[in-house]
Each structure stands twice: as structure tokens, then as C-alpha cells.
Symmetry: C2
Subunit: 870 residues, 2 copies
């Protein structure tokens, strides 16, 4: 088994084996560019390391040693030698770039003898001992788990002793002192001398890179970015070149185009007489890349030429690192550059204009999730740079918000008249809806990515951070505690729903704006894709919003939120508390005209586009008050006995409301509710068609069906009411169901006999298939991630292995019975790119997602189509 | 389409089309037995009736009329004629006998003119008008929904008027008066005259029979007996013969063998000068069938001969109805006779001895569920006859019990020393266990067939009626209210867990006893079956009990109940409330030796039989107190802060505990719990093997797995602990999982890579697949039955269409990965005969059920094997 490759043995296509960094170093070598030579230990070696119980096998070590010998020969230097010492950098490099992992150890190969030899050789002992003490620091930190700040303390002590302020003020002897003290500190803490043998240093560093693949930050990053844990990382060992050899040396970073705007122009910065980490440390202010042209025109010309070669070669904007050692330019790395959403669109459009990309190439180059940033307000970058988050929650709905803290929906509604507000609640419930609408952002203490707050906020496009457990609300006291600080009602806070960060104080935000580039680009996506994109919308406002984002219909209108509005909740509660059908019908008669209005609004907003409306779904107790004082108030309000009301509320209590009396089960027990809703839908459609002449296409969706008999019964009720309402008027409507219970998927052939469409409710289907409730999973999912049992959140990304099997089975069984059955998805997954791709491949007709995710789904659908063709 | 058959056109094999009664009448006709002729309207006509929206189609009516003409010709009588009037009986008759349906209308065809003609013809006008008024009564009641008791009132009024006490004291004129008053009452209430046209009477009666197929009692009966609702009923129209024509006439019912004991001897009774309904009414005391030999030897001889013919012909004990009209014997019906469990066994064994049945025939003839009656105490039949149930609950655990009412487990435990007690609770929880053991029977107000009380009671073989909502407990007052009556603590009540009936007062019970017949018969079952039968048992006592019933291993030991015992709950709570792993391990160390003792007991009881032990499953909050005062007491007890404890309890609260932090999810979060249990299991097995020399076979079961990574992780923990405990000692053990989450079934191929066995936990699998919780389904399942959406309780009978698909899929996927994987079922369904048959056909290796259901499962397994061969 070959575990090690010289750069010249590899190529850009060997990314899986060599990691991104290694493959690119190989590619640059093959292009004849000036790359300091070295070798890459493969990702397979990393796999072997874990397979062997976190142990570097002798055959891997042997190969590394063999290649080291080659490198010595190639460079004409000797590893651990004193005359022409070879120093190397050691860097991790996986298939995808992963900031969570170990990055770099520089100057490896240094020891007491080498330092002396190099001092003589370079005549610059300060530089050499500075490099040595940096190496001890980096090595101890990343390889030996002796944190860096211990060494910073030693440096500070020395500076105090010497009465100086800057590191640069320390001289040669000081550096030597530091090396001595560092080594002493090391041996005190590790019980052994700092390793002097360069080969031991190297093997320890290689093992540390492998280990860093599984450090907690890397695991979190992988989960957030859908990177499988079995990929592993490669290790790159490269000869050191030195940008800190004097004023004819330097180091820098540059992009072939501007990563913020996309402008076609070299963009970057460099520092003369410096090593890579100095650029990052920010002690000296770097110069812009243009200025290199003034300082060292020859090096600049050569660099610009290489940059252009690389962009043409890779056919994408490049992010490059370089070092100049005594006027000679070396390329240390190149990769496709990360870019903002704005830049991504600009580059895509330019590349197509330049004839470099086809439109399909361009569509594949933009990450769908990036589009979010174009649709939501963002913090002003400068203001954000200065801010420090005080806590982190779940990034539940993207965008940034800043406002005055309010603890109740009423307060938020009132305060919103005076300026932006942030609604902060333990968790939200449907009764909070008006406060949520009024707020710029929503912060909750409990609840996950699919909690009420998260779902509603995403629907409205409002920024939301959910499940921020570090925030403790003292509502009675009118303040909250977070990160040890106290924030009062009315104080400013800021939240970032894209990252989950929470800040005390106001960080100004910049509004989102949709540009011409956006429309051009999305137009390309629409030309390509065949999967339709609908939206989940409960109000005419959301519906109109979604249409403006390109929605081609509504895949899910939830009717329950309509019953929480002030004028509805009364009759709704009357209905629920009715003693018999007669009373219930009386209350439903009051609700009917209001529902008609609701649906008229939505149909008017959607025009000829299809609209799927789901019949009442949640358990009825959600509409009743739970607190003692609210029950008392309601009893007085309704003129019923307090005790009776309490008993009724108690009776509706459920052990597992998720698996209780809800969905079509309500319609089975109280068919008159479904009847009222069916009447309202058809009456509204008729009214709108009469006024506008537009053919309205209502699709009535019966939720939570698990057996064809349920479907048949409720369909009968709906159909009868619909036909009575139509009374011969010509209007087409469909009756279908949501597939959200495993049994519905398993018996989809039977259900398709009655249902004209299936909409996969993958939120509930995920819960039932996994057997856990999203509200309760928070208490153990962290343990699951920690132990690598789950790598992604199944509520965010469709579990193709389990839930996906049911979706495919149901699609296949449904089509067997009813070949033309319309199939869609309306769970949260409808806006997740990988899930959209799955839906396309499973042969679904459409996906439906919250309005602000519609563009993401459109792009993802186009990408899925392109990939399927390839 | 042919909807009507003459008896002579049919045969015994046409049961599906003609119903049981019709097929048997046809068969007897073909055998040349004296059967009053007639015809049968088919079950397909019933199907058509419902298809046409509860309407008898003209072509069905036409065929009935055509056959009526034939019957007139055949009998030489005229329907509605006055000279030789033809009267008929109309009876329902479905494939399976169904007591819930309409039974019989006699004397149909009677009207004013016919009555006059018949009076002249018979010279017995009292008999004729008595028949007429009976006909009006029956017709009004069953066809026109004018309840019978209205007519009884009219009779009582007349008797009072006439100053007589018995109906027999009423004369001809009185009968005529009754006919007049009955007709007047009819027209007052129905707004039309009593139908005089016999053909209209007949068609109305036919429709009424069809309708009765769907009356509420019939629906309930079908559900309880697994009869599909689409079978429908046939209608039998038969010439009347009259047992009430004088002293040379009579009517009776008899069995070819004694239905209580199985004794081979004609058994039955008859009444001279009477019609069928008089035998039922019980006004006159019937004579035994032997006495017929004295009264009418010729008729007796003929009857005995026919009885013998029929038994030989049908090869089973027959239940027959006959009428003697003027010394001539007529057979009105024959069918396989219902029998007690004792009789069933006696007959089976005799029939095999007589060479009539093979052993396999005999095994198929006994209903597995009947065996229950042999294993549990039953009410003494005479005492039961005199008792009237005051309420009904769910028949949650079979057998009968009577005892003094206790409202708490403590009270039951204390009172049990003085005599039998009945534990009556709103619902039971694991803390009630000692009271449940002490009680003769358990009655709960809430909860279904798989509630805690039901499951535990079945496990112990204790009688239980669950979910008796009519019982309202006033625990503080020390009494309960039921059916308007008050019962105090210490008063006697009786319950029947086989029927769900609840009685006030003491009904003596007779102990169950297992006879030689039982052992012989079960021996035959064991010879035939290949499916193994295990038991679910948590204690050595239950395990030993199950072995005595033939259990071949334990399929499920739940470990959670062990932690509720007085000496365990303390350390258990300490463990749960631990702040970190160190504290948790300290508490677990206290539990370890107790768990070792638990498992030693079970292994000792089971010897070399395999024992599957499930790791801790329920959410931890189940072990903590919920009530304010209990929390206070516990805080004091444990020496922790009250507020801290309350918060910890609050934190463990879950929205949907069923789908929360439980099963292997606990082991993922707290591996040390699984480790302790694994140690205890292996240590106990080693200890027992050391002492007894018997090879103990522990099977460690990891619950609630949904992903192979969960299985892999927990298996790792268990394996490590097990190997450490064994330290080289030779003992085989297996590690497997429960398949109880849909995703586990869908990914069973992956999971089988890690699991050595699968045990299908069909209780939870049913809940998750249907998406409803058994604790909450009670609130809507009644509506489902009422609307015929469900016909059987999916928790009692495995849903083969949905859940069964997952079981089959998982079995198939599991075997694909690991061909020898051991497959079993340990849900409640393991003791349900139809589910046992499913498991056999799905290729499972064993079923596991509560100890008292082991014989049922053994017989069902034998039947499944025989049916599969046929």
C-alpha cells in the first residue's frame, strides 16, 4: 500500500487521496510553478491510523522516512543537519477545506544543534531563535496539547522583566532565553525533554494532524457542512522557505478576483520580512497586493502571471499563498477562493460572459445556501468585526437583527411603533404570532431548528436564534442574564440567525437588496430545472412574498394559525368546548365566514397557481389556555363554570401530543370541522373565480392519514361539502393527503386509490421514523454528535437511508395505483439543497419550502437536474 | 347475477355465499333430512345492498319474488292466502355465527285475512291470533325499530284490566284485542297502517336483516372476533312449521355431546306445544332431551338417528334446533356447537380416540384463546347467572376475581393478609407493584389494553379490567361511585377480566386446574410446531411459572421494574440526579450487586434455556417523584436542596416521553448505566454456571436502536464490560437489539452487521408506524371503530398490512446480512393467535409472550404449521 506521494507524483484530480491542499500542490508542481517541494501522506493513511486504534503503523512511518530521504536529496539539505539544515512545514489537508482542523506547524526540524548551525549559516541568529521559539510554541500547542497561552505568559514575564512592550523589541539573547524557558516549561509539564530528534518531531506532527480530524471543532464543522467523518485528512510535508530572511523577503495572500464584490482584479495583501503567521497576527499592517508592484515589480509581475495561469487552469477564482525568499517567489498553496454571495453571482455572470463557464457550470458553482445572504439583512461588516458574541444558539432563521429586548408578544407589538424590537422568549407559541410579526428578530431559550419559533420565523423571513440555553429570562424582574451580564427590557441586543451568535448592544444591519445579477442567475436556474418549487405560506402576505421569489404555487397552507387571531380564538374555543355536535356547528358557523376571507386572500395572491390547503392539524388543547389564571379568565369570558372548563382542559391533556388526537383523527371524531373548512375553501375559490375570472386550483390536503379508510372517510365528508358549495359551478379541485406517518408510506398503494396527490410531510415522517420528537431530541442529540452516531441533523437534511426509503417506496407504490398522482414535499427539507436533489431523483413533481428558501430550492433543483444529466 | 338459492341448490361448502345457516340448511336438505323448505338470499346481495346506498335493488326483489312463487308451489300453500296460507320465518345468517345481529322473525306472511283463514283451517283461533300478535311485535321491533317493551306494556295493561297474571290465561278475544291494540299503537307511532301485504313484509324484513349487519352490537362483536366488515350476511326464508299446534307438537334444542363437559351423549331440552321463542323466554320449564324418549319415542328415535348422522357428516359436535308438528319431526338448523374449554379438550381427545379426527384435526378444532379459561380462576357459573354487571371496562387480563376494594397499593398489601382484595386505581404505575402482586384482581379507571396495569397483570396472570371510565374514585372520601351506587373501601366487588364486566358484591370463583387432557393436548401441539415459544418475565417467579406452562426461554426481561423496589429506588434516584459521571458511577456501584442477584434468580429459574435481558428502557423521569410533597420528601431524604431537585425533575420533563430520551439513547448519554447492567448480567451468569455447571445463555438486548451507529456504540460498551467480567471464563453470550422503531426495520441490513439477534418490539413498532401513542389513542379509537375505519385493535392483533410489512422487510434484510440471525417477537402480539401465525409465516424463530399466554402461543404455533402444510 502506497501511503506517501511526492508532489510531482500527484495531480489535481487526486483530491480524495491527497486532500485539497496536496492535490493542488501536486498540480502546481506539474504546471512547472515554483513550489517548494515535499510530499503528502494520504487520507488512506489517516483511515489506517483510526483502524489501528489511533496508531501510526510502521509501514507508514517507513514510507515517510523514505520520502524524507528523497526530499533531502532533492533540496540538497539535511533534516537535522547543521550545515544545510532542512526545515519543513506540516499541514493538514482534507478533501474539503476544514477550518476546525490543525492548520500548520512551521519550522519543524529545528533543534539546538540546527539552530546553532543555521545561525552561522544565515548570520541572523535572532531570526533563527525566533523561529525556534515559535516552533516550540506551535509544536507544544498542536501536537502535545500544551496550550499556547502558557507560552505567551512566559513571553509577557520576560518583557516585563526587560521593561519592553513589543516582541520586536526583544533581542537575540532574549530569544535564546525564551527558547530555554519554553523547553523548561515543556519538560516540567510533559515529564520529558522537548524532542530534539527531527524525525520524532515529524512523526508526532503527522499523528497530531490525523488526530485533529476528530477534534470537537472539526466534528461540529463537518456536521454543519455535511462532510462525512470517514473521509479523513492528508498531511502535507513541505520544505520551508522563509519570508523573514530580510527586506528582500516577504509573504502574502491574494485572490484572483475580489472575494467580496467579485470584481475582476487581483486582491490581497502581503508583509515584507515576515512569516505567514505574522500576517494573521495583525501586529504589523500589511500592504495591498498592488503595492507589491512598487516594492518588487519583478516578483509582482511573476505573481500576477502565475495568478492568471492558475485561474485559467482551475477555471475558477483562486485564493493563493506565496512567499518571497530573497527575491525568489514561491507558491505555497492555491485553492478555489471562498466568496460572498454577491461576489459569487458577479463572478458567475462574468465567467459566463468571458466564455469560461457555460450557464450550467455557473449554476453548479454557486452554493444554494449562499443565496440566503442576499435575501436577508446582514450586519454591517465593520461593526460586526468589532463585536464579540456573548452566547450562541441555533441558527434557526437566517439574517441579522438588532432591536430593543421585549419579553412578551404584547410588549413587542407596542414597542415596535417606536423602533426595532427583539422578541426574547423561553419558547414561542401560536399566541405570540403578532409579536413575532412586529419583531425584527426572535431569540428563544428552548426549542430546536424546527420549533415553533424557527418554523414561523423562517416562513416570515425573520431572523431567529433558537435554543439559546445560556440566556436565562427573569420575566417578572424585567431582565435576562446572559454570559454573566444583565440585559433589561428595552436594552439593545443583536442576533445573527445565520450563525446563531447573540450579542449585547446594537450592531447596525444593512438591508438585503435583490440585484439584476440575482434575477439573471435565477433565470438560468429556471431554464434548466424541471422540479417545480412551491412555497409554504399561511397568509396572503407570505404568499405574495414567495411569488416574488419565484414560487410556482403553495405546497402547504396551515390553517391552524388562522384560529389564533383575536377575533377567531373565541369561537374556536367555543367549538372545542362544545358538548355536542349542535353546539359545535353553531361555533363553526361563526368561523366559516372568517375562513372564507382567509382563503380568498390567499387565492387572490396566488392567482392561477395551485394552492394546497391542509385541514386543521394540531391537537385541540393547543387552542386552550393552560395556566390557572387564563382558565379562570376564559371561564368568566365564556360564561361557563370554571371547574367544568378545567376538567375539559384536563381531559384534552395528552401524554404524547405528537402522537395523539390530531390531524385527520380530528376530522374522524368531528367531521363537521373538516366540512366547515372544505366549504370555506370551495366558497372562497368560487368567489375569487367569479370576481377575477381566474381558474383557481384548490388542493385540499387531509393530514396525518395512516390508513386508506381514514382517507376515504374524510374525503367523503370533504367531497360532499365541496359539491354542495359548488352546486354545479365549474371549478376543479383536488383532494389528497400528507404522507407523514410511516404506515401511510407503507400502504401508499391503497391510499393512492383515494388520494389525488401526496405531499410528503417529512418533519413528522422523520420524527415517527426515527421515533423521537424534535422537541425532546435536544436533550440527547449533542451526545449523538459527540459520539459520531449522527453526523447531520435529520430535521435539517433528509435522512435518505431511512426516511428517504419510505419516501421512495411511497412514491413508487402511489404511482403503481395512480400513475399520474402528483407528488411533492412540504416538510422543512423542501428548502435544503441536498434534500431537494433527493426529491428530484425520487421523481417528485415539486418541493415546497418557506418563501425565503424558494430561490435556494430553485437553484438546488437546477443543480440536481444538471448533475443527473452528467 | 344470481342472488337467491333454494336450499336444494346449495351445499355445506357454500358458506361464504349462503352464510352458515343457509349452507347447513342446504346440506341437510341434500342429506335427505326433514327440513322445511325455503331459500337463501346471498351475502353478495347484502354487499350489493350497501353498495347501492342501503337499498334493495329491483333485481334482487324480483328474484326473491320468483323463489317465493316456487316455495308456494313446493309447499302447496299460498303466501297471503286464506285457504292454505304460507307463513315463513326470516333469519339472518353470516359466515360466522354472530349474536349481535337480527335473529329471527317468525310467522311472517300473517295479516287480518290470513288470520281468519287460518283460524278456520286449524280450528284454533287462539293459537292463530297469538301467532299474529307475536308477529306484529317481532316485526315492529326488529324491522321498524319500535321497541318490544312498548308492546309488553300493552299486554300488561290488558292483563291488569282482565285481572289475570299469566299470558296463558288470556283467551282468544284477548288475543284479538291485543292484535287490534298493537296495530293501533303501530300506526300511531309510524304514521302508517301495519303492513298487510305479505310481500312488503318480506322485503322489509330482508332489508332489516341486511341493516342489522351494521348495528352497533354487531360491529363490536365483529371487532372482538376479527370478523371483516365486508363479509355481509345472508337471509334465510323458510316455511313455518308449528310446534305449538297442540300436545302432539313441540320444539327443542340439542347438542350431540355435552357442551360443558364434552361427554358423548345427547344433551338438550324441549317444550311440548310451544314455539321456539318460548324455550328462550323461560316461562315454562323445558324437559331434558332424554324425556322426549318417554313422551314421543318415535320422534326421539328419529331425532337421535339424525343427530348421529349429522355428527358423522360434519365430523364435529352439532348444535341442532328441531320442531315437531303433529308428531312429524322437522330439523330447523344444525351447526358446529360452541363448547367450554374443558369440553373442547374432552371432545378433541375423544374424537381422536374414536378415529374421527387426526391429531392435527384436533389441534385445529380448539380455539387457542379458549385455553385461557383453563389457566385462570372463573366465576362459579350458578353464582354468575344471578349477578348483573354494574359497568364494563376493557378485558385486560383474563380470569375472574372477587375481593375487598382497596384504593392504594399499601392498603391492598396490608389487607391481603386478611383475605382477597381488589386493587382499584385511576391508573397504576410501577410503584404500585407490590399492591398488584397482593391483589386477586385489578380494576383501573383509565388506560387501555396495553396500559401498565394490563401488561403487568397479564404477566402475573392476575385478572384485570382496565379503562372502566364509569368508575369514579373518591380516594379521600374512601369510596367509589359506579353505576349510581356507592362502594366503600373494604366492600366486596367482583370483576371478570375475560369479558370486562364489573360487579358489586362477591361472586365466588373456582380455581383453575390443569388436567391430564390439557397436557395430552398440548403435547400434540408441541409435536407439530416448529416455532419456539418463549416468555416475557421479569422475576424468577414469573419465569418458573412460564416454564411450567411450556416456555422454552425468556424473550424479554425488562430490567426497569427491578429498580422500583424499596431498596433500589434510593440509589436509582441518586444515580439519576448525579451531577457527573463520577457521582453516577458511585450510585451504580450500589445497584450492581442487587442487579447481579436479580439475574442470578432468573438464570437459576431458566437453567439452560436462553434468556434475553433488555437494558434499561424508560425515560429517567419515570423513576422520580412528580408530586410536590413527594419531591419535598425526597429532597429531605437525599439531603439535597429542594429547589435543585425540583429543577432537575423539571429538566427531565418531556413533551412526548414516548419519543424522548429513553432506550439506547440513555446508554449513549450515560454508557456507565449499560456497563453496570452488562457486568451484572455476565457476573450472574458466571456465578450460576459455576454453582450449577449449567451453560447459561444470556442474550443482551439493546432497546430502541434506530441506526447502526447506536448499536455499534452501545455494543462496544457492553462487550468491553462483558469481556472484563468474563476474564477468560468460558461462557457464550449474545448481543442483539429490539426492532421497535421504523427506521431500524428500514435499515435492518446495516444493523444486522452488529446485532446477533433481532427481537421485534411490536408494541412500540405499532405506535411509531401508526403514529399514535397507545396512552392517547383511547380518545379517538372509539370513533374509528364506529366509523369502521379500524376493525381490530392494532395493539392486540398485529397490523399485517403496515407493521407486518416492516417486520417482514427487517427479517429479510437482517438475514441478507447475517443468514443465521435469530429472530423473535416480544411485543404483546406474541400471545395473539393470528399474530403468531403471521410470525411463523414471516419465518421468525420464536414468539415471546406473558407466561399465561404461553399455552395459547404453543397451540397457535402448531395451527400455523398445520395450515401452512395444507
Amino acid at each position: 500500500m502506497k501511503y506517501v506521494y511526492r508532489f510531482s507524483e500527484g495531480s489535481g484530480s487526486m483530491r480524495e487521496l491527497l486532500g485539497g491542499k496536496g492535490a493542488n500542490l501536486a498540480e502546481m508542481t506539474n504546471l512547472g510553478l515554483p513550489v517548494p517541494q515535499g510530499f503528502t501522506v494520504t487520507t488512506e493513511a489517516c483511515g489506517r491510523y483510526y483502524q489501528d486504534g489511533e496508531f501510526v503503523a510502521p509501514d507508514i512511518r517507513d514510507q515517510v522516512m523514505e520520502y524524507l530521504v528523497w526530499l533531502e536529496k532533492d533540496s540538497g539539505k539535511v533534516f537535522g543537519g547543521t550545515d544545510a539544515p532542512l526545515l519543513v512545514s506540516v499541514r493538514s489537508g482534507s478533501r474539503a477545506s476544514m477550518p476546525g482542523m490543525m492548520d500548520t506547524i512551521l519550522n519543524l526540524g529545528m533543534n539546538d544543534a540546527v539552530a546553532e548551525g543555521m545561525s552561522a549559516l544565515t548570520g541572523n541568529p535572532r531570526f533563527v531563535y525566533d523561529s525556534y521559539r515559535r516552533f516550540i510554541q506551535m509544536f507544544s500547542d498542536v501536537v502535545m496539547e500544551l496550550p499556547k497561552h502558557n507560552f505567551e505568559i512566559i513571553i509577557d514575564e520576560l518583557k516585563e522583566q526587560k521593561g519592553v512592550k513589543q516582541d520586536t523589541e526583544l533581542g537575540v539573547d532574549d530569544m535564546k532565553t525564551l527558547v530555554k524557558r519554553f523547553k523548561a516549561f515543556y519538560s516540567d509539564n510533559k515529564g520529558a525533554e522537548f524532542p530534539q530528534e527531527p524525525r520524532d518531531q515529524l512523526m508526532a506532527a503527522v499523528a497530531a494532524v490525523f488526530r485533529s480530524w476528530n477534534n470537537p471543532r472539526a466534528i461540529v464543522y463537518r456536521r454543519e457542512n455535511d462532510i462525512p467523518s470517514n473521509w479523513g485528512t492528508a498531511v502535507n510535508v513541505q520544505s520551508m522557505v522563509f519570508g523573514n530572511m530580510g527586506d528582500d523577503s516577504g509573504t502574502g495572500v491574494a485572490f484572483t478576483r475580489n472575494p467580496s464584490t467579485g470584481e475582476r482584479k487581483l486582491y490581497g495583501e502581503f508583509l515584507m520580512n515576515a512569516q505567514g503567521e505574522d500576517v494573521v497576527a495583525g501586529i504589523r499592517t500589511p500592504q495591498t497586493i498592488d503595492q507589491l508592484n512598487e516594492v518588487m515589480p519583478e516578483a509582482y509581475r511573476r505573481f500576477a502571471e502565475i495568478a492568471s495561469t492558475l485561474e485559467s487552469h482551475y477555471k475558477d477564482m483562486q485564493d493563493m499563498e506565496f512567499t518571497i525568499e530573497r527575491r525568489k517567489l514561491y507558491m505555497l498553496q492555491t485553492r478555489n477562493g471562498k466568496r460572498t454571495a454577491q461576489a459569487a453571482l458577479q463572478i458567475a455572470i462574468d465567467m459566463v460572459d468571458e466564455g469560461v463557464w457555460s450557464k450550467e457550470d455557473a449554476l453548479l458553482k454557486v452554493e444554494p445556501k449562499q443565496l440566503d445572504a442576499l435575501l436577508h439583512p446582514q450586519f454591517e461588516p465593520k461593526a460586526l468585526k468589532a463585536a464579540e458574541p456573548v452566547a450562541k444558539g441555533l441558527p434557526a432563521s437566517p439574517g441579522a437583527a438588532c432591536g430593543r429586548v421585549c419579553f412578551t408578544a404584547e410588549h413587542a407589538k407596542a414597542e415596535a411603533k417606536n423602533g426595532p424590537v427583539l422578541l426574547v422568549r423561553k419558547e414561542t407559541s401560536p399566541e405570540d404570532i403578532e409579536g413575532m410579526i412586529a419583531a425584527q428578530g426572535i431569540l428563544t431559550v428552548r426549542g430546536g431548528m424546527t420549533s415553533h419559533a424557527a418554523v414561523v420565523a423562517r416562513g416570515m423571513g425573520t431572523c431567529c436564534v433558537a435554543g439559546c440555553g445560556e440566556c436565562v429570562i427573569h420575566e417578572d424582574g424585567g431582565f435576562l442574564m446572559i454570559g454573566g451580564a444583565r440585559v433589561n427590557t428595552g436594552d439593545f441586543m443583536s442576533i445573527d440567525g445565520t450563525t446563531g451568535s447573540v450579542y449585547i448592544g446594537a450592531i447596525p444591519t444593512a438591508e438585503a437588496e435583490i440585484t439584476g445579477n440575482f434575477n439573471t442567475f435565477m433565470g438560468w436556474a429556471d431554464e434548466v430545472r424541471t422540479l417545480k418549487v412551491r412555497t409554504n405560506a399561511d397568509t396572503p402576505h407570505d404568499a405574495a412574498q414567495a411569488v416574488s421569489f419565484g414560487a410556482e404555487g403553495i405546497g402547504l397552507t396551515r390553517t391552524e394559525h388562522m384560529f389564533f387571531e383575536a377575533d377567531r380564538i373565541g369561537p374556536m374555543r367555543e367549538m372545542i368546548l362544545s358538548a355536542d355536535e349542535t353546539e359545535r356547528r353553531k361555533a363553526l358557523d361563526k368561523l366559516l365566514p372568517m375562513q372564507v376571507k382567509d382563503f380568498e386572500g390567499i387565492f387572490t395572491a396566488m392567482g392561477p397557481r395551485p394552492v394546497t390547503i391542509r385541514l386543521l392539524d394540531p391537537p385541540l388543547h393547543e387552542f386552550l389556555p393552560q395556566k390557572e389564571e387564563d382558565i379562570r379568565a376564559l371561564a368568566a369570558d365564556m360564561g361557563v363554570d370554571e371547574q367544568t372548563l378545567r376538567e375539559r382542559v384536563d381531559n384534552l391533556h395528552e401524554f404524547n401530543p405528537m402522537m395523539g388526537h390530531r390531524g385527520c383523527r380530528l376530522a374522524v371524531s368531528f367531521p363537521e370541522i373538516a366540512e366547515m373548512q372544505a366549504r370555506a375553501i370551495i366558497r372562497a375559490a368560487v368567489n375569487v373565480k367569479r370576481v377575477t375570472g381566474i381558474d383557481i386550483v384548490p388542493e385540499i390536503m387531509i393530514p396525518l392519514v395512516g390508513d386508506v379508510n381514514e382517507m376515504r372517510f374524510v374525503k367523503g365528508v370533504v367531497q360532499k361539502a365541496a359539491e354542495e358549495e359548488l352546486a354545479g359551478f365549474a371549478l376543479k379541485y383536488m383532494i389528497g393527503t400528507m404522507i407523514e406517518i410511516p404506515r401511510a408510506a407503507l400502504t401508499a398503494d391503497e391510499i393512492a386509490g383515494e388520494a389525488e396527490f401526496f405531499s410528503f410531510g417529512t418533519n413528522d415522517l422523520t420524527q415517527m421514523t426515527f421515533g423521537f420528537s424534535r422537541d425532546d431530541a435536544g436533550s440527547f442529540l449533542d451526545d449523538y454528535y459527540k459520539r459520531k452516531i449522527y453526523e447531520t441533523d435529520p430535521f435539517a437534511r433528509l435522512d435518505q437511508n431511512g426516511v428517504g426509503k419510505l419516501v421512495k417506496l411511497a412514491a413508487q407504490l402511489g404511482r403503481k395505483t395512480r400513475p399520474g398522482i402528483k407528488l411533492g414535499i412540504c416538510g422543512e427539507h423542501g428548502g435544503d439543497p441536498s434534500s431537494v436533489e433527493f426529491c428530484f431523483n425520487a421523481g417528485l413533481d415539486y418541493v415546497s419550502c418557506s418563501p425565503f428558501r424558494v430561490p435556494i430550492a430553485r437553484l438546488a433543483a437546477a443543480q440536481a437536474k444538471i448533475k443527473a444529466k452528467g
